[in-house]
């Protein structure tokens, strides 16, 4: 595998996007003694190169009919009767998140500039490895490879929270680790079971997404497997009642960590639902959707309410994430094209606006080393630009029209309403009201009103670096809000294909015993990774 992998690494491939950060981390091993500033600049440069590579790649493979690009398939682990392949690709569903990851990377570096005060080499290494893990999980098309990347994310994040975090960082880090691990281990068993079933039917084990999609399983088996996957993803999202790791993780994590965590890590949960849990187990998903929808909506209201009464800015934003991702889950589970488009764009939106909010809180923390509301109030006078960005991001998060948040929520809710979930949509829409309550509460407590604390009188306003960190996010918030078409179109074909496939499979009843479904109509399915178009059929006969 080595040689061909190397050629992949050097070529203009998805693989390069995924592993460039890791390669870039290698020199850091020898920069232990380097000055922090050097390391910071190096990190910044690397992140810029990465986003550059991504943009170049996207531009190269862009195609009006959406894009489905796959690297050549390499064997990762071949055994007699069992094969795991290294198979990665990007389609309209993963593209936005991949680009978001790229966008956030430099932002995180800039945002951590001051907040991370020691071991910059370590921080950069962790960050880069984390990025590889995230990207890998986003592009993996072999479930076991996906699992590997999924787990690879854990250790760097654990270190980032635990080393550069706040007071109770270790508790938070371990909690984060255990929650995620608990879910993902069950998912591993589920994956293995799937591969084995496929092997029983075809004589050749496989964990390839496109192979496993052909499995038609009895409902009860689907229920168990879907349960295993859904648990892993629900913890990651996180959905109520698996969310309690999130506030702790966010409050303790350094700014950069929070941005990555909220920006992308959580999205992997929702992405997992969209990419794996639903398409693989349609009947179970359909059966369990009501419960999950219930949890999603509870999450929306619950997160909003709890956010409202938090004494700590970061915790408020953390709980707001729970509410926002509740919307995403609502959209995904509504199984409606518009809702799915909304869910996808909302993943990005949340990454942008919540990322910006965490950055801003972090900037305040860098200055005053506190995140408590009681230490602020009325600082708009002192730091107008900070106030401007805070108001802007908050409004985006509130879902104000012409900013990004609205687009996502609107599409999700329209779609879900169209799908007939009237009551749930009504409740969720009320969640929008609550969002206004707690987010304006945030503004009220921090920047408006009389200047309560003397020590805030001397607060510095944002400097160029901080503005540079925030600006890209805000630009996209506005852009997405004003002209969402640009961002919705690329994903639509893929979503359409997956949805059509999902509905088609749901249409026919689940079999009594596991079997191989009819292969799909390539023209339709070719717009996502639903069938194997290019890779040679590796001798799989039922």
């Amino acid at each position: 595998m080595g040689g061909s992998f190397l050629s992949l690494l050097l070529g203009d491939t998805v693989t390069r996007l995924v592993f460039f950060p890791t390669l870039a981390a290698v020199p850091l091993l020898f920069m232990g003694k380097a000055k922090p500033i050097a390391v910071k600049l190096y990190a910044l440069a690397v992140s810029l190169v990465e986003i550059g590579l991504m943009l170049a790649w996207t531009a190269a493979h862009w195609d009006a009919a959406g894009l489905v690009v796959k690297d050549p398939v390499l064997p990762w682990l071949e055994m007699p009767s069992l094969s795991i392949v290294y198979e990665v690709g990007i389609d309209g569903i993963s593209l936005p998140l991949v680009l978001l990851t790229g966008l956030l990377l430099p932002v995180v570096v800039l945002g951590s500039w001051k907040g991370v005060d020691r071991h910059w080499t370590g921080f950069t290494t962790a960050l880069l490895l984390l990025t590889t893990g995230i990207l890998g999980a986003l592009v993996a098309l072999d479930l076991l490879v996906f699992y590997v990347f999924w787990e690879v994310m854990l250790i760097p994040m654990y270190l980032i929270i635990g080393i550069w975090g706040g007071e109770r960082r270790i508790y938070a880090a371990v909690k984060f680790f255990l929650f995620t691990m608990a879910g993902s281990l069950l998912m591993l068993i589920g994956i293995l079971w799937l591969g084995w079933t496929y092997g029983r039917l075809t004589g050749l084990w496989s964990f390839r997404y496109q192979d496993l999609l052909r499995l038609d399983l009895p409902v009860e088996q689907q229920l168990w497997l879907f349960g295993a996957f859904a648990l892993a993803f629900a913890i990651k999202v996180p959905m109520f009642p698996f969310h309690t790791w999130l506030p702790d993780a966010h409050v303790e994590a350094p700014t950069g960590g929070s941005v990555i965590l909220a920006g992308i890590l959580l999205k992997l949960g929702t992405y997992g639902f969209l990419r794996f849990a639903l398409p693989l187990f349609p009947h179970a998903a359909d059966r369990l959707a009501p419960w999950l929808l219930g949890l999603a909506v509870i999450g929306i209201v619950y997160g909003a309410l709890v956010a409202w009464v938090q004494p700590d800015m970061k915790k408020l934003v953390a709980y707001s994430s729970i509410a926002h991702l509740g919307f995403v889950m609502l959209g995904i589970l509504a199984c409606d094209l518009i809702a799915w488009q909304g869910a996808l764009i909302q993943m990005v939106n949340h990454g942008l606006s919540t990322g910006a909010l965490f950055l801003l809180v972090g900037m305040l923390y860098d200055r005053r080393h506190t995140k408590k509301f009681e230490d602020f109030g009325g600082i708009a006078k002192v730091v107008p630009w900070f106030a401007f960005f805070l108001v802007f991001s908050t409004l985006a998060s509130v879902g104000l029209p012409a900013l990004n948040g609205f687009v996502g929520e609107f599409l999700i809710l329209v779609g879900a309403w169209r799908a007939g979930l009237h009551l749930l949509v009504a409740i969720s829409t009320f969640g929008v009201v609550l969002a206004a309550i707690y987010l304006l509460h945030l503004l009220q407590k921090t920047i408006w009103g009389p200047l309560t604390r003397e020590e805030n009188r001397g607060l510095r306003d944002l400097d160029v670096r901080e503005v540079l960190a925030l600006l890209p996010l805000c630009v996209f918030m506005l852009w997405i809000g004003v002209a969402p078409k640009t961002f919705l179109e690329p994903s639509r074909p893929a979503l359409e294909a997956v949805l059509a496939d999902y509905r088609a499979r749901l249409a026919q009843p689940a079999p009594a015993a596991p079997g191989l479904g009819a292969s799909r109509n390539p023209a339709e399915a070719g717009r996502s990774f639903l069938v194997d178009l290019d890779a040679p059929d590796r001798g799989v006969q039922p």
Binding site: M1, L77, V148, R169, L185, L186, I189, L192, W193
Partner: protein, 482 residues
């Protein structure tokens, strides 16, 4: 001439690796006596002998020898290489420690080499007496090594406990041998298998005999409830030696256990064997990790974690058959790398005179000893079975095997246990990196050999995790198709 001495040279040749090791050991011992000045060269010499043995192994050809007392096959060669890997690591890490403990003496490499020889024979032996002798050969050496730290009461105590338990158990083994021999009329495994198939002998006694023989090796694998010696011995014995002790004997004993269990399970009396193994596996996984969870001494912690790992190793055996070999081999290779690696690092980070090894003692040292910190972290991650490390590949194959044989519950218990174990191993990581540095190290000087050993182990764990094909292909090539 007397046929009794008519030993075909081919047979002798097939023993070449073992002979080389024993010869080297003897020479070293003599040199110790007559040319102590050469001490510095002993360990390198031992290392050379190990490598030589490995080379001879790869060269040696398959087939039975000595009228089938021992056999040689790709399988035995694979496991033997694993043993030699552990041996090499144990030797590499030794000098620094011994120098600091002012124990630098020829006996150490000699004894290690003898152990290795014994283990190699054990792996290859297909006959009960040979089995017994090989067991005793390395056991006796192990007792001595465990107590090698002459001036340390704990080391002595470790040696004594190990000795008493070992002797106690080997007498059970011998009694088991006696029963099996008596009831089947043969001491050869194939002969026993034939007799069992034929249904000779009293089932009760056969069952007892087989149980006594098997448990002796379960004891060497320190499966619950035969585990209790492990933590004490690991804690007291010299760390670099533990790197060897915690791996090599387990590899060999695992091979024997797989052989025996497969044999018994196929026989008419063996109906219950899979359940027995499954029980041992479950109890070991859970108890091992639970007890490890509450340890404050890193060596005891690793001992209990070793118990748990042997539990995972037993999962494939719960459905015996040729298919079980692959997960066992892969798991053992991974285990050899990560566990030995962990102990190697420990042997460098704790002053030898000190008999306590508090995990908290490492706090903040990830920055003082970057290389060792990373190595230990990688080993911990690997022990936790988190990708992309060898440990994950091992667990993956084990669980796969369980699912393949409709033993989902074993896999589920396995992941439950892994969840507990994660806490155990993460504690070490956060001690290294997330706690402030409290104690400045005294009498702690990572030596070159040790660092090489650590890096090799860690890099190996990582490489095999990223590129499992290396390991798997090798395993597939060297194992009977299952």
């Amino acid at each position: 001439m007397n046929p009794l001495f008519a030993v075909p040279t081919a047979d002798l040749a097939s023993l070449a690796p073992e002979l080389l090791l024993t010869a080297a050991a003897t020479v070293l011992l003599l040199l110790e006596a007559f040319a102590p000045a050469l001490r510095r060269a002993f360990v390198p010499a031992g290392l050379a002998a190990t490598i030589g043995a490995a080379w001879l192994l790869t060269g040696s050809d398959s087939g039975p020898a000595f009228h089938g007392l021992v056999e040689s096959s790709p399988l035995t060669r694979a496991f033997s290489l694993t043993v030699l890997l552990a041996t090499a690591l144990g030797l590499l890490a030794a000098p620094g420690y011994l120098r600091r403990a002012r124990l630098l003496a020829g006996e150490y490499p000699a004894l290690i080499l003898w152990c290795a020889a014994g283990l190699l024979i054990l792996i290859r032996s297909t006959e009960l007496l040979t089995l017994f002798l090989a067991l005793e050969l390395f056991s006796v050496a192990l007792y001595a090594l465990a107590a090698f730290h002459r001036r340390s009461a704990r080391s002595a105590e470790a040696g004594l406990k190990y000795f008493l338990m070992g002797a106690f158990v080997s007498s059970f083994l011998l009694y088991g041998v006696a029963l099996l021999f008596g009831e089947t009329g043969s001491t050869r495994l194939d002969g026993i298998a034939a007799a069992l198939a034929a249904g000779n002998g009293s089932p009760g006694l056969l069952l007892l005999g087989s149980l006594l023989v098997a448990t002796a090796f379960a004891f060497k694998l320190s499966l619950v409830p035969f585990h209790a010696w492990a933590p004490d011995v690991y804690q007291g014995a010299p760390s670099p030696f533990v790197a060897f002790l915690s791996v090599a004997p387990k590899v060999a004993s695992a091979v024997v256990l797989v052989r025996l269990v497969t044999l018994f399970a196929d026989s008419p009396i063996g109906g219950r064997w899979p359940d027995v193994i499954a029980l041992l596996a479950v109890v070991s996984m859970l108890a091992g990790n639970l007890f490890a969870l509450v340890q404050r001494d890193i060596k005891r912690m690793l001992a209990y974690s070793g118990v748990a790992h042997m539990g995972y190793l037993m999962i494939p055996l719960a459905s015996p058959g040729n298919a079980a070999w692959r997960p066992v081999l892969v798991y053992l290779v991974a285990y050899a790398l990560m566990n030995a690696g962990a102990f190697v690092v420990v042997s460098m980070l704790y002053p030898s005179s000190d008999d306590q090894h508090p995990i908290a003692g490492l706090s903040g040292w990830g920055y003082r000893f970057p290389a060792l910190g990373i190595c230990l972290t990688v080993c911990m991650v690997s022990l936790g079975g988190i990708p992309p490390t060898a440990g994950f590949i091992g667990k993956y194959l084990v669980f796969l095997h369980a699912i393949q044989h409709q033993q989902l519950y074993l896999a589920l218990v396995g992941i439950a246990a892994s969840l507990i174990s994660v806490v155990v191993y993460l504690r070490v990581v956060y001690m290294l990196y997330m706690k402030p540095e409290i104690a400045a190290p005294q009498d702690v000087a990572p030596d070159f050999g040790g660092q090489v050993a650590a890096v090799v182990a860690a890099a190996g764990s990582l490489l095999l995790g990223l590129w499992p094909a290396l390991l798997i292909d090798w395993a597939v090539a060297s194992l009977p198709v299952g």
